[in-house]
Subunit: 217 residues, 2 copies
DNA sequence: GCCGAACCGTAACGTACGGTACGGCCCGCG
DNA sequence: CGCGGGCCGTACCGTACGTTACGGTTCGGC
């Protein structure tokens, strides 16, 4: 912290050492799942359990701090809605889809979602809410302006932006996330992700793209 | 039920008493999540722990037995592909969508998926595989013949049935399952499910319905 | 009526792990 | 140089829970 780079920005007041500890916890979470022990984290991070408890108070505290810390790293570049032609809109949608698929198929995301889902049952902490907020809702918050801009430009047609977003979400994700969470081997190569992004975008445009002529439905 | 119906059919060799025990375990799973204790199950089922271990061997054994038994109950009525007109195809798709949404939004399904996802991380058992097999893959197996029949009848157009199914899956489920698993309050009324089923079906038909005239894309 | 098997209730054991306490080390500061 | 705070390593405690063991009870078969 004495080397005062802008830790306030991403890590919201975390010492570099603390971030290193959280990184270790995250790596351990990916490997071990929810059954990681405080001792294991301490050993991996080369710190004492006393420090762990002093800094994060609790096992749940450590977990939520880890999840939030990882969430703060996932900020993907947002797209401004200035590109008003169909090509740039398509590119933006494809980029979103591709980024999203990359995220949800990453090891860390899978591990984090797993532990969050597991904890959502017995509501001791709000890991589920945190993941939801930084995952699905953050995505919506960044994508909706693009959709609105597309509608303003006459490229898209929809009544409810939320509904349009959810459709896009479904077209992109399909069964991928639940299959990965349930342990299905489903390796998404770079190429497959790109192809899926293009397909989902085309399907979305087919459903919500503005028809030049009169349209039914 | 007491009149010795074919238990061999659904319960694959489980005595009624054992099924009752599994029912208790299931109810407890819904209430407590994965942190249910053997003692709690024994108390709820009014049986001894010794019996539990004798019958299911292990805690994981009990869990898998519970999941499999619940899975054996979810068999929804399959639809034969004899109705070749658009109306019956639409009705079938809507029925599937509605059934599926009802299932994944039910308390038991959420609880089961939660524990399966949690266990998928550290692969001690194959709960994830079981759930996947009886959930998403069973759905595909039942729906694909309908899609194929629709294609045979000239009502649908697609190259890969798997791909078409996954699109339908995405259009129906969208973000519902992950949100529910992560603990988002999202109450799906009967009416909302029906509406979603109709919407998803319409969107699917818009994407994969056979155009009478020449089509682009 | 008697025997053995299955099962219930409960007590007991072992262990793993969350949480805490304590001694030693480093390091900045007076 | 001495002091004190922060941290490491580790040993320790309490407890919850999986698993096992055992005495008592019901019940079908002879």
């Amino acid at each position: 912290m004495l080397l005062a780079n802008a830790d306030i920005d991403n890590g919201e007041g975390l010492t570099e050492r603390q971030q290193a500890v959280l990184d270790a916890a995250l790596r351990l979470l990916v490997e071990e799942g929810d059954n990681l022990t405080m001792t294991a984290v301490a050993r991996r991070a080369s710190c004492s359990k006393e420090t762990l408890y002093k800094w994060f108070g609790d096992r749940d505290g450590l977990l939520t701090a880890t999840v939030q810390w990882q969430a703060s790293k996932v900020r993907v570049a947002s797209v401004d809605g200035k590109g008003l032609d169909l090509a740039s809109l398509t590119a933006s949608l494809e980029r979103f889809a591709s980024d999203w698929l990359s995220v949800i198929s990453s090891d860390t995301s899978i591990a984090l979602n797993r532990v969050a889902v597991g904890h959502a049952g017995s509501g001791k902490d709000d890991l589920g809410a945190v993941v939801l907020e930084n995952g699905r809702f953050a995505l919506a918050k960044r994508l909706k302006p693009v959709l609105e801009a597309g509608r303003q430009a006459g490229l898209l047609e929809f009544a409810d932006a939320e509904m349009a977003f959810r459709t896009f979400f479904g077209l992109v994700g399909r069964d991928v996330q639940i299959r990965l969470l349930l342990g299905d081997r489903l390796e998404l190569t770079e190429a497959a992700i790109g192809g899926d992004a293009i397909r989902a975008t085309q399907q979305f445009l087919a459903l919500f793209g503005a028809k030049t002529g009169p349209q039914g439905l």
